[in-house]
Symmetry: D2
Amino acid sequence: MNQDEMYVQSGDIAQLVGLSHKNFIIRLKHGEILQTHRGNLAHDDCIGKQWGSQVFSHLGNPFFLVQPSLGDLIIATRRTTQILYPKDIGFILVSMGIGPGQHVIEAGTGSGAMTTALAFAVGPHGHVTSYEVRQEMQSLARENLSKLGLEDRVTLKLADIKKGFDERNMRALFMDIPTPELFITQVRETLTPGGFFGCIVPTLNQLMKLTPVLRRENFTFVEICEIFLRYYKPVPARIRPTDRMVAHTGYLVFARPVLPSENIEEHENQEE
Amino acid sequence: MNQDEMYVQSGDIAQLVGLSHKNFIIRLKHGEILQTHRGNLAHDDCIGKQWGSQVFSHLGNPFFLVQPSLGDLIIATRRTTQILYPKDIGFILVSMGIGPGQHVIEAGTGSGAMTTALAFAVGPHGHVTSYEVRQEMQSLARENLSKLGLEDRVTLKLADIKKGFDERNMRALFMDIPTPELFITQVRETLTPGGFFGCIVPTLNQLMKLTPVLRRENFTFVEICEIFLRYYKPVPARIRPTDRMVAHTGYLVFARPVLPSENIEEHENQEE
Amino acid sequence: MNQDEMYVQSGDIAQLVGLSHKNFIIRLKHGEILQTHRGNLAHDDCIGKQWGSQVFSHLGNPFFLVQPSLGDLIIATRRTTQILYPKDIGFILVSMGIGPGQHVIEAGTGSGAMTTALAFAVGPHGHVTSYEVRQEMQSLARENLSKLGLEDRVTLKLADIKKGFDERNMRALFMDIPTPELFITQVRETLTPGGFFGCIVPTLNQLMKLTPVLRRENFTFVEICEIFLRYYKPVPARIRPTDRMVAHTGYLVFARPVLPSENIEEHENQEE
Amino acid sequence: MNQDEMYVQSGDIAQLVGLSHKNFIIRLKHGEILQTHRGNLAHDDCIGKQWGSQVFSHLGNPFFLVQPSLGDLIIATRRTTQILYPKDIGFILVSMGIGPGQHVIEAGTGSGAMTTALAFAVGPHGHVTSYEVRQEMQSLARENLSKLGLEDRVTLKLADIKKGFDERNMRALFMDIPTPELFITQVRETLTPGGFFGCIVPTLNQLMKLTPVLRRENFTFVEICEIFLRYYKPVPARIRPTDRMVAHTGYLVFARPVLPSENIEEHENQEE
């Protein structure tokens, strides 16, 4: 990080973390005010400060001024739907090999949390094309991406994927819609053989509909899993897990389309 | 993916997945032979094929020819030590906001599994500097990175971090060494205020030594967590979790250095 | 169950379960009224009904009239402290072999939830002796046990276990106090060689103090574990785990005192 | 425990625990020999010793001589089928309120592990009636129960439950068979209104068949859950969870039959 980057500038995305970990993610702009239940913070009191500084509201309450991580950005996504969480997103990116410079497809833009993560991971030289059928969701996602300056990396398409995806020979497609089992043929057409398909479904009913369809559509290496994340209270004298945790977000399903071939089932890992 | 990329070329990293999910990750080269317990596979039988094809050993056993994901590469890391696993790596990358174009520091190169993940995530325009004190580990990591063509993105330093890191104002540092609590001052010096510190420790004893030191060294937003990954058997008629799973890899610890400030403890999220 | 037992009688312990699973556990008595936010229920409207009937409050809201399980009784324990939960209690009883006709010791009566479970499990021919140092906790536990008609099976002792337990050659002792590591010598004196010691501690700090002391005091077969319980929403069209769950109650520690002997450590199960 | 009980007698059930936690559960008998891979142990070398003693094989290897817990007995059950494990059994007993003096029904004797637990929990004044349709399973269970001296507490019935259970007005019935959804009417007939039904199913497919049937058959308070048990390595200098754990045994389903009534669904706990 060079010297310039160490200091907060107008236009930067900043996270202000108050007492009890209450936090706000904003884009800083001269003259604006952040209103919190612990008092007002003038953006101009932040601009010019060094990252990692403590700033104070007009009521004297302290806030740390830091840059948010991708995880922080995701959790702060303004949403009207269930979003994907960092515990799942991290594993999806690694399992689907999504990284800098790639062009990836998303089906089900939703509030744009996963879109944000994909756009972050593919970087300025990559691209994300994301399909959504509901106009109001697309607008919300567009707004969320725009706030983070990620809109240039993303093409938002308002379309029903029943008619298929426009793209061909794609390397990776992630799907977060209520009935993925109905669109596996379309996924098959847009992914290159050996490409990566990933999906999240919240219920067992969905999981049980999707699994046999993947088999029928000549996908292999079907993997189903779920991820638990347990936090600990970091109080040195009484370290212990938190009392409660998220018990479920969804089942992650991964599979890869292959060219017509023999004995697909036997390639599966039947055990663990 | 353009047409060329759809076909396997000499020099490509390929994953060959045989029956029962047995798999091999190799760099393809004219004239070479992969020997497996299910027969030999000539690299030349793979080169020129379309990705996603099935190829056959001289004994007639089928293998799928695909590109490995980052997760596959990590699991296949040749190792002499415990490595980090995809479930942890994904969450670490997201939580520390590691992405394209960044320069990040690693302390404890080990076998190079995490180094591989960092190098993948920062992409061709980013860089990883990784410290290791054991010559033989560094050599193994170098070999592992070199096989994947990632050596240009990584600087491997053979040095004892007791003397500190050479870099200053760094945005992110990940540490995987037995006694992290001894080097927090050094971490403090190399990270920019508001930067990201991440660490993994396998035992409770280590966790209990590290936690109070982070507090003393003016780190805030200390988060301790652990991740469980449970796979399901994808047999449509009998979907159920696998019988056994990994119960533990390590505790993940995240914290952020800040400038001298007041009431750090009260900024912590005491609950969940 | 004979015919008489199928009908609700005055003096019975009944559970009244209203809409949204809101429930009340009461001892029925002629002339009394249960007041709920969904209206009043006259005990006399329950007495004489068949178990499993639906009864209605004066506002017309339905309640099921059933007998509570041990789990229900435990969860309904009136408490001023953290209590043990059914997921832990069931495993403790099975692991310590606690059953009908035994005399068992408890250290730390607390609100009496575990005392209730022990009294239930040893039955009318067994006995529980429970130590507590705080008068007000003992009173609360006595009241809780009395409501369930279990007071005859339990001797509550108000005493500091620093001075030791009065009993000798006991088969099983369960401890739920903040500093178990300080009283292991006393446990040793009251348990018969080969007896069962069980304990719950909420924090890692406690766990790390207790573990080495058990070794020093000639206990073997030390087992440390924790139990997770995850519920599912039983809606047939959308079966899925609940959104949140209890992440932690405490670490369970089991160990057995033995006569002076060789190589105790090697008897341990180092792996799983 | 009186003085006599502190000493090992002929006819006692003993657990001999060797190095690395290898253990054997036997009924002691004058003149017999236990053969182990660490040498032979004469039963007569155990009889007369104090419980908690160390005894030695003819090769000089040490074994601890202790009484097994119910958990130990269950795990040691000689089996030809999957058995229920202590983590599940403990919770089942507590959730179904099974205790001393009761008469309970089991459907699916299997190898008799759960039968053993039920017989233990109801004690000498209670009774278990267990149905099984396979002659060879019943014989194995009979042998297992007989070894433990529990045969008097159990009636084993060789019958197809399609024709219904003989008993009426029963308080509790536990079922461990492949197709529980086919026999819920029969369960309904044998249980008293307000009684306790419990069941274990290993697959999601089974769970999805069973859940709607319970609703149709006028059961309420349907609870579905699963239990995870994680062990820790008790080495004081390096306390940490074991590397691997059991990921799944089965889904536990509990429900209670009630008299014909209104709005059953609204009584359910939709959330956690």
